[in-house]
């Protein structure tokens, strides 16, 4: 009888005990089941072409919001190639949003991702849409938030890759908070 621990299903790296099986992300079901298209795209297309294929757009329903109101925004990412592509990311955090350059409107780190690379996978021609809200506050410490005053703020979103803006993997928009 084959035991579960004899299979590779629970394999973990003794050097980094929290490194899960490497195959999980890359071996997920593919559009073409008879060939691993994302692996093929990694082999055939250089990283530059894969990043070129993906675009990021961000938008808000309005340009002005009252101070204290939540600001909804939508991020749309698109793979314009007719094949799946995988964009390597700097960490398992695949993308981030910022307000005036502060990740998730926080002056303190909001997550502590490991130093391992991640991969953001897009199916052929896939649109990914994410709806987020900025609550009009800045996190100033681990336990405290402050309200943003009236003024213009830049909300940005981009893939977690080095020089995302230069590679076209980042977009931003501005909103104005006004007193009611």
């Amino acid at each position: 009888m084959r035991r579960i621990y004899e299979s590779e299903a629970l394999h973990r790296d003794d050097e980094d005990a929290f490194s899960p099986s490497e195959s999980d992300r890359r071996e997920r079901p593919q559009a073409f089941r008879w060939v691993n298209v994302s692996r093929l795209s990694r082999l055939l297309f250089p990283r530059r072409l894969r990043t070129w294929a993906v675009s990021v757009r961000i938008g808000t329903p309005r340009e002005e919001y009252p101070v204290g109101a939540r600001v909804p925004f939508r991020i749309t990412m698109k793979n314009s190639l007719p094949i799946p592509v995988e964009v390597p990311t700097a960490s398992p955090v695949l993308w981030t949003w910022t307000v005036d350059g502060h990740r998730e409107a926080s002056h303190v780190p909001v997550a502590d991702p490991p130093d391992t690379e991640g991969a953001f996978r897009f199916d052929r021609g896939e649109y990914k849409r994410f709806s987020k809200r900025w609550n009009g506050l800045f996190r100033v410490s681990e336990t405290e938030w402050e309200r943003a005053g009236p003024g213009t703020y830049t909300i940005g979103a981009g893939l977690n890759v080095p020089e995302a803006e230069r590679k076209g993997l980042y977009d931003e928009t501005t909103v104005t908070l006004v007193r009611e």
């Binding site: 973990r12 999980d24 992300r25 997550a111």
Partner: protein, 357 residues
């Protein structure tokens, strides 16, 4: 030294939608033979906490910080063979859904015997005999004949008992029960809980019981941790939690317990739902649902505080009752105005009811 010491445990899941912080800075201890309850709504991070103890968090989840010391050794620094030697042996788990936990293509007896052979070094015959005794202990009728049955031939209650037998097979020092009775009807639930209590007393096993049912906690546990949105909001001995809840969320959970003889036409609920863990509200995570929330609650997140002194308790085990509410820092102007309405005998926690104003 406590049997299990969890300190500042943080578990994050990296999803396409963002980072889900399923457990955020959790700290607690479990003594030998103690029954410790973890309670909260679905999505509060209870199961993730349990899986972390066994180091069973898989991709895309990561334990990003903290320490889990079992018998003084940090589980997070052990090699995989070391963890495998304690998993199912010294630390065992009763999984939430027994039907899923059991392998459908192996007989129930074989699945229990496998752990016995692997950890205790028994040969096939000895393992079979021990497994039959275990199945008998957990109340499987005609255990010898049922040894060779497949999981689909067992009822839900029997499957759950088989999973409990598997967890107890190596007489663990810590038994983690992740909602062991959620899928069962109330009569079987009562039997299973009695069984866990009896067996825990018999083997002097510490139990971490995870549930969203405060009635179950009242029946089984000595101490309780109430979780909300991946964080502990109240920790207390079970009697104190029922007689003197300090956090509005705990009060909300109490008031939603149905009670025989209650004249209310509708059950009281906590309005709203658990927040999205990718996008937690600022300040106290419970403030959007809290009837006592004030402006300060939206801007400041309270740590676990000693309700008497208002001082943060940190990881100090000497403070038995703590709650994460700004009320105890003196910041709230209106205060918490709920009343505890005691009904029936005072020595019966389940007959107590908390009502918010």
């Amino acid at each position: 030294m406590a049997l299990l010491e969890v300190e500042n445990l943080t578990v994050e899941f990296y999803t396409e939608d963002g980072v889900v912080t399923a457990a955020d800075g959790l700290s607690y201890q479990i003594e030998r033979g103690e029954k410790f309850g973890v309670v909260g709504e679905s999505g509060a991070g209870k199961s993730v906490t349990a899986l972390s103890l066994m180091r069973l968090i898989d991709s895309p989840g990561r334990i990003t910080s903290g320490e889990i010391r079992f018998k003084g050794e940090n589980v997070l620094e052990m090699t995989e063979p070391e963890v495998r030697s304690i998993r199912g042996n010294e630390m065992a788990m009763v999984f939430q859904d027994a039907q899923t936990a059991l392998n459908p293509v192996y007989t129930v007896g074989e699945q229990v015997a496998e752990a016995v052979r692997h950890h205790l070094g028994y040969d096939d015959e000895e393992a079979r005999a021990r497994t039959i005794r275990l199945l008998d202990t957990v109340g499987i009728p005609d255990a010898e004949a049922r040894y060779s049955d497949y999981p689909h031939e067992f009822s839900g209650g029997m499957q759950q008992r088989a999973v409990i037998a598997m967890a107890l097979s190596c007489e663990p020092d810590l038994l983690i029960c992740d909602e062991p009775t959620t899928a069962l009807d109330v009569t079987i639930e009562a039997k299973i809980l009695d069984l866990i209590e009896e067996l825990a007393d018999e083997f002097d096993t510490a139990v971490q019981l995870i549930t969203h049912d405060l009635g179950v906690i009242a029946q089984v546990c000595d101490r309780v941790m109430v979780m909300y949105a991946g964080k502990p909001v109240e920790k207390a001995p079970v009697e104190e939690l029922y007689y003197d809840p300090k956090h509005p969320y705990t009060v909300g959970l109490m008031s939603s317990i149905p009670r025989v003889g209650d004249t209310r036409s509708r059950l009281q609920t906590i309005p709203g739902t658990m927040p999205d863990l990718v996008e937690l509200p600022p300040g106290c995570s419970f403030h959007p649902r809290c009837p006592y929330a004030e402006e300060a609650c939206t801007l400041e997140e309270p740590p676990l505080l000693d309700p008497e002194t208002g001082e943060p308790v940190g990881t100090d085990p000497s403070v038995e009752h703590s709650a994460a509410c700004l009320e105890y820092t003196g910041v709230l102007t209106e205060g918490l105005t709920y009343e505890i309405d005691v009904v029936g005998e005072t020595d019966e926690p389940l007959t107590r009811r908390a009502e918010g104003n």
